[in-house]
Every structure is written in C-alpha cells, then in structure tokens.
Subunit: 203 residues, 2 copies
C-alpha cells in the first residue's frame, strides 16, 4: 500500500529510524503510525542489543532533590550518572531528559542497585532464607517451597534493581525498555553507571 510522506516524517521523528525503515514499517502496519512505531521499536531493540557492548566514555551526571513541603528543605536526594558514546549525544536534549527521568524514577521507587548483576550474593542468600522460613511457617507443602522462594526472589529483584523496575510514567514497560528505546533512537550504547539516593529518614 502507499504510505503518506507526512506519516513517514512523523514516524521518523518518533523513532529516530531511517526513512526507508519507516516506510517499510508503515507498509507492514497498513499505514498505522503507532503500530509501525511498535514494529520499529522491536527492530530497534534488536539494534540496541548489538550496540550494548560498545564503550561509553561520555555522559551526564544529574541530580534531583525532593522536598515534602515547599517551606521545607530537601529530605531526599538523588545523583545519577548516565553514560553514552559521544559528547554529541551527551549534549542532546533527549539524552539529558532520559537522565532526568532516571533520577525521578530513583527518587520515587528507591532501587538499591542498577542491575541484578550488582546485587551481592550474601543479600540473595539472606532473602532466600527469609522467604523459605516464611513459606514453611505458613505451612506450604515442602515440594512447592523452592518455587515460592524463587518467585519471591524474582519479585525482590524486580523491585530493587533500577533496570527491572516498572517505569513510573508507563508501568507496563521496564526502565530497561526505556533505555533500550533511547539506544535505538540515539543510535549509541547507553549505560546507567551508578546512582546514589540519600534520605534523611533512613536510620
């Protein structure tokens, strides 16, 4: 089917993909721009994983301070470092906006690590012990205890690792998917290198 040039342009702006990729995605989607965007995103994520090994020596540090009321000084603060490959991307509004979104995510959803690979082994051992004791205490049949424990460990990781958390603006997608979308759009590998989150209330 013929697709309009306006739609191709619109899809290009949305996705950052090339003209021909946009055209064929629109044809595949029967002219539906949103559907075409999803098709491109799926392809884009494939591209992103190819980029995932590339060195990221540039980037931005962003901070976010949160006050509970206007006359009160900030009680929660976040610092986040997001890396990319070139200073061209580091300077781009899209990249800086991503860093800001990640700072907001960390402020609101209190991750403790960037990825599940960063979780110390002893933490996982302790969590497993707690879940196991709880399952036995609840009188769960012995043969299903391991399955209960593993599903609770999985939940723990999804809640405490930034990249696996649900993105606060679109709970149906993970932070990892948002980062992958930016890798695809900005055509550079992007990594969240580290973050810090301080809260006065923590004992």
């Amino acid at each position: 089917m013929a697709v309009s040039l306006d739609d191709v342009k619109k899809l290009r702006e949305m996705s950052g993909a090339g003209m021909m990729d946009c055209k064929s995605a629109l044809e595949e989607a029967g002219g539906d721009v949103d559907k075409a965007f999803t098709i491109l995103r799926e392809k884009g994520v494939a591209k992103a994983s190819k980029r995932a090994g590339r060195a990221t020596g540039q980037g931005v540090v962003d901070a976010y301070l949160h006050s509970t009321s206007p006359d009160f000084p900030p009680q929660v603060g976040v610092l986040v470092e997001v890396n990319c490959e070139t200073d061209f991307v580091a300077k781009s509004p899209d990249f800086r906006k991503l860093a800001r979104e990640l700072a907001l995510q960390i402020a609101g959803f209190e991750p403790r690590w960037v990825t599940r690979e960063d979780v110390p082994d002893e933490t996982l051992v302790q969590e497993r012990e707690v879940y196991e004791a709880k399952a036995r205490q609840d009188g769960k049949p012995e043969q299903i205890v391991p399955r209960i424990v593993e599903s609770q460990v999985e939940n723990f990781l999804k809640q405490s690792c930034l990249m696996e958390q649900a993105y606060f603006r679109e709970p149906g997608r993970t932070v990892q998917q948002i980062v992958a979308e930016h890798i695809s759009k900005l055509q550079e590998n992007i990594t969240v290198r580290r973050f810090a989150r301080f809260n006065i209330r923590e004992s």
Copy 2:
C-alpha cells in the same frame, strides 16, 4: 570598660551567642568586636564539643552539578547529607548555606571520606607500603623512614577526608572548624552523614 549596646548587638548577630556572653567577651577584648568574636568562637567550639554527642535526626540533602562549559551537560555531581537536631535548624538559611558550601567543597576538592575514621584499614596499609618503598628508593636513612611515612600518611588523610580539608574560601581553616562554628552559632550538633561524588572522567 563600658561596651556599646550596638557592638553587643553586632557581636550577637555574628556569633549567635547570648547577650551576657557577648558583653563579657567584648570587655575581655577591650571593645574590639572581631577579637571578641574570636573569644566567643573559642568558647563556642568548647560548647560544640559538648554538643557533639547529641542525636541528629533532622537535616538536609543538597546537590551540586558542575559543567565545564555552558553548552555542556554536567560532568561532575555531588550529593551531600548534613544532619542536625531539629527541623527548625534544618530550615534555617545558615544551615542550608553550610550544606551548599560543603557540596562545593566536595565538588572542588574531591574528598573520598567524611572523617579519618571512615578510611578503610587496608587503604592505610597500602598507602604506608607505597610511601615506605618510595622513601627507601630515594635512599632516605633507615631510621627516619617511619617518620617520613607517618607524615605522608597524615598528608594523605588531610587531603582525602572532608572534615580535615582546608576550607576552600579560607584555606587557613579546616572544614571541621567551619562545621564547629555552625554548631556553636546554631546551638545544635551538626554532622556530615555521607556524600557521593560522581565524575564522568573517572575510569
């Protein structure tokens, strides 16, 4: 000697000390307000150390981002948590200004720990080994090597611990002295609980 009420008021504003303390300090200083302030500060620091054990459950988190050029995103970021005893002090402009000064100090002078008690033992062991090897390589007499090593360890601690660093606005005073002055002025214990400093350039 008789001291003017204006001077007492001025000294009170400078020091936060009580009316009678200001009056007697001015008398002791022969009416010289700056000298009287020094006298009060000496007494104040004595007060500060009495306060140093008190619980600090309130405070503020501050952040500072540094860009090397105006069109460039921040490459260095600092997050700092400063604690005090009450939300009344936490809200005060003097306290918040102190937190900001500490953030600037950390951004510019790259401390690695808050106090020397925070430096891991293995770091000190490694530093000592390096200084010792260097002193021997430089052909220093064996009997003075321990003295050289200890003086270099002392330098290392003064450079890498925030509280022992020279305050960037008044290199003749340490950050510890600036904090003690605020303890005296604000009449509450104040502690720097923790900080983070991220730099894109760090490998």
